[in-house]
Symmetry: C2
Subunit: 186 residues, 2 copies
Amino acid sequence: MRLPVSGRKIVVLRMGHRPKRDVRITTHVALVARAFGAHAMILADVVDEKLLETMRKVIESWGGRYFKLVCGIPWRKAIEEWKRLGGCVVHLTMYGENIEGSDVLERIRRDPRDVMVVVGASKVPKEVYFLADYNVAIGNQPHSEVSALAVFLDRFFQGKELIREFEDARLKIIPCPRGKKVVRLR
Amino acid sequence: MRLPVSGRKIVVLRMGHRPKRDVRITTHVALVARAFGAHAMILADVVDEKLLETMRKVIESWGGRYFKLVCGIPWRKAIEEWKRLGGCVVHLTMYGENIEGSDVLERIRRDPRDVMVVVGASKVPKEVYFLADYNVAIGNQPHSEVSALAVFLDRFFQGKELIREFEDARLKIIPCPRGKKVVRLR
């Protein structure tokens, strides 16, 4: 199963991670990045060994070795380097253009560049709103960077990311209406 | 802005909440429930004062007083009572029928009953898979109850929940491509 917006790389940049407080939320962000079709995630500014270990285990069990998780790059450097290499930057924020009822997603889909999706934790520096090519709101209500990222990618890939096969998986779920069916592939 | 699947009540049941460990994830689940058009959330088995306080403040600022958060009902009782009152139960689990590439969402949308959406934390008791009318996977990969709930509701309401107005709001965001625009309504 190939993703429909083919040829474009999607990288998630997670900013503002506070090592103890955000560890579980950032893990959920990384799991969403992988499960919803991103190719990589950058955790800005800090190194989180526990997150690296969790994602290593998930990939070992459920596949997707292409998915890279990189820690510790300063956020400004990550964004500027991405732009220098010709990518565009989508910042998810409740203050941005609403993905529903505006043409912002259409414009992003027509833009041929690779996409960096920026998600913050608490307060995001004002500069990010101006470095970004698109500030996109998944609705203009407070919710979560986890849900914002998932809904953005689900709409970007038009749902097709959810039936993607992950190579090198050791385990695979057979969808079923009751109970759990898991097959061991190797 | 009325939601398209009108007349049907949507209640989220959050199970398996571990008071310290899950406090932020459960807060994100509650924020998603409100922002994505649910009418209420039940936090099963435990009372979390901090969560109640956070949601009270969010509703005070951003509106939606109709949204009810109830804590401490035993999960089995909550599900059984919901079914006794004629509602159907949708359990979100990576082992269920995939929302993409199956007709499960169509069946739920055709089902005229009110909907309880069950999201677990760590392990969900096997019984839940059998009490549920529908076990639905938002893809068969591990990610997060926060993202699973958001994508389910986004697809259930066909995106229209994201342009809904919340009554009694004190603050309102004016979507914009750069920076932040917030108006004070009262």
